[in-house]
């Protein structure tokens, strides 16, 4: 894809020097990443198989920590919350984001203003959006609580009930990330060749037919990449639950944090939860990459 084979001779001559330079350019980043990310994950696995505490690694306990994890209703609750949060919020974001992207895929005046407006929620720190929405959901002064109660949708305070907290967390995530999803998909849409669509139009294909037979198949790689990103980000949700729900709603990440950092008596199960979260994320990523690979192979 880089083109330029004309200088191949030139490059072969400088091959060894080039490889040496490349090594120097890449190694600092690689070494740091290995030390601060890959090694710690491996160390987490090691810790999770021991009776570890904040001060010592402890003795080998096999999978006891994991067994303990799945007996803990707080953990299974956190797992369920995270799964529901991820599946529901990402689905809504994809459908809404795609609709918005299809709608905005044309030249219009005020494009910059629209882009800035939709980028703002994305750029806000999650902690801040969580706090903002907590204020709006608050029982005494919250506008959302007021509206929900005057419409008769709910009568108990939103912030005290786990189910409504989870629904609220999903809605906040949708507010915050749908625009980002829409921008990614819009960029993908702009690479769909216009003449193909025009040709289909001339051949008498209706708008829906064009969408499902041309646009969406061509957009599939972009959709999968966007989904991969969003799903894994949602899977690691931490800030939103921690701040908005004021620690009343658990996700896998808040559960781990509490074990490892807050109540350090739960250090070992905490590391097990971290390892579980990691391998689940890896499994999710592999599924998406498999889909993506199958897709690209089909096209070529």
């Amino acid at each position: 894809m880089n083109g330029g084979t004309g200088t191949a001779d030139n490059r072969r001559g400088a091959g060894a020097a080039e490889r040496r330079t490349a090594r120097w350019m890449v190694s600092p980043a690689i070494l740091l990443i290995v030390a601060v990310a890959f090694f710690p994950v491996a160390y987490s696995v090691y810790l999770s198989l021991h009776d570890a505490s904040i001060t010592s690694v402890g003795g080998w306990v096999g999978f006891d920590n994991y067994a303990q994890l799945f007996r803990d209703s707080k953990f299974t609750g956190a797992l369920l919350n995270t799964a529901v949060f991820t599946a529901v919020s990402v689905t809504i974001e994809l459908v809404l984001g795609l609709t918005i992207a299809l709608g905005l895929n044309q030249a219009f005046r005020g494009r910059g203003a629209v882009r800035t407006a939709v980028l703002l929620p994305w750029a806000f720190p999650v902690v801040v959006s969580a706090l903002m929405w907590r204020l709006m959901l608050q029982d005494q002064v919250g506008i959302v609580s007021y509206l929900v109660q005057s419409l008769g949708l709910a009568d108990s305070p939103i912030l005290s009930d786990r189910t409504s907290l989870l629904i609220a967390a999903i809605l906040v995530d949708v507010w915050k990330t749908t625009p980002f999803m829409a921008l990614l998909l819009l960029a993908g849409l702009q690479t769909v060749p216009k003449d193909v669509i025009e040709a289909a139009k001339v051949d008498g294909a209706g708008a829906l037919r064009r969408l499902f037979s041309i646009t969406l198949p061509l957009l599939k790689p972009t959709i999968l990449v966007a989904l991969l990103f969003r799903t894994l980000e949602a899977w690691g949700v931490y800030d939103l639950f921690w701040v908005m729900a004021d620690r009343q709603l658990d996700s896998l990440s808040t559960y781990t944090f509490e074990g490892v950092r807050v109540s350090q008596l739960n250090f070992a199960p905490g590391t097990a939860a971290a390892v579980f979260t990691f391998f689940a994320a890896l499994a999710i990523a592999l599924v998406f990459i498999k889909l993506l690979g199958a897709r690209t192979a089909e096209e070529r």
């Binding site: 601060v36 929620p121 709006m136 931490y238 990440s253």
Partner: protein, 285 residues
């Protein structure tokens, strides 16, 4: 970069209709209404804040919420810490990321695809998977409760995004220029420094802006490795501020907005560039 801009020109020949503008307006309002509402909460006096039914347009103005925020020394300190942590991390990300991205984009070496995949895979790591071991490592190295703990982790976790964006930008640059420089006797490193980097300045700026936003917003590592308000960045100060000022909802609203102002300004100034950077990588699939 220019390639992207050119592509955008020829689009649908028909002008968008009124329905289009209505839906675009609804979209914009949905995005910014919550922000405007919180702005309103931060500007009205306490009595109006607690009024039921709530007033939709502010009846009265006061800056007292903002003076509560700015008279809190922790808060000012938090803004300073955020700027320091995000600034140093962004710089470190560029220093480590730009050479690596160039090598991935242009040079041939063994394990190139493998290493590139390894770096990008990190973007999908749940950050929580590393906090326990890093807590122990930083404790052993005496780095707990120092800026370094957070700067190191932030840098590493933003690196994949930086490398991804920069690789995409470097690939777009014409190859002839470096080849010409090399024919003139420049080494690969010299060609990178004197030919490519100046040309890629817009791409480097884009990567820097996005890295800054992401590190400014980081919460988990800061909340894990820093124990006292002297070191806390604004994202950690905010929830604690909300806990100590439980019923001062106006002050909480003001605090939420104040820490977002720097980010909002960056977005306003660079929205086009940010979108380009974020989508440049994603489109490569």
């Amino acid at each position: 970069m220019s390639a992207i801009r050119v592509k955008r020109r020829p689009r649908s020949s028909s002008a968008p209709g009124i329905g289009f503008y209505i839906s675009a307006t609804v979209l914009v309002l949905l995005s910014i209404a919550p922000i405007l509402w919180v702005l309103k909460m931060s500007l009205i006096p306490r009595a109006e804040l607690f009024a039921s039914p709530p007033t939709f347009l502010p009846q009265d103005f006061t800056l007292s919420s903002y003076s509560t925020v700015f008279s809190d020394p922790t808060f000012i300190r938090g803004l300073f810490n955020s700027a320091l942590i995000a600034g140093v991390s962004t710089l470190a990300c560029l220093l480590l990321g730009a050479p690596a991205a160039y090598a991935f984009a242009r040079l041939r070496f063994r394990f190139r695809t493998f290493l590139m995949t390894g770096i990008l895979a990190l973007a999908f790591f749940p950050a929580v998977a590393v906090i326990a071991p890093l807590f122990l490592e930083f404790k052993a190295l005496d780095l707990l409760n120092t800026y370094w703990a957070v700067i190191i982790t932030d840098t590493v976790f933003v690196l994949p995004l930086t490398v991804w964006i920069l690789t995409a930008f470097f690939r777009q640059l014409p190859r002839d220029l470096e080849d010409a420089a090399k024919v003139d006797g420049a080494t690969t490193l010299q060609a990178f420094r004197h030919v490519i980097l100046p040309l890629a300045a817009p791409g480097v700026a884009t990567a820097a802006i996005i890295a800054f936003i992401v590190t400014w917003n980081e919460f988990l590592f800061a909340n894990t490795f820093l124990f006292d308000s002297d070191h806390w960045p604004a994202t950690v100060v905010i929830p604690n501020f909300a806990t100590t000022h439980t019923v001062e909802y106006g002050a909480q609203a003001a605090a939420a907005l104040v820490i977002t102002v720097p980010i909002a300004l960056v977005v306003l100034a660079f929205q086009r560039r940010i979108v380009q950077g974020l989508t440049a990588g994603a489109l490569k699939g």
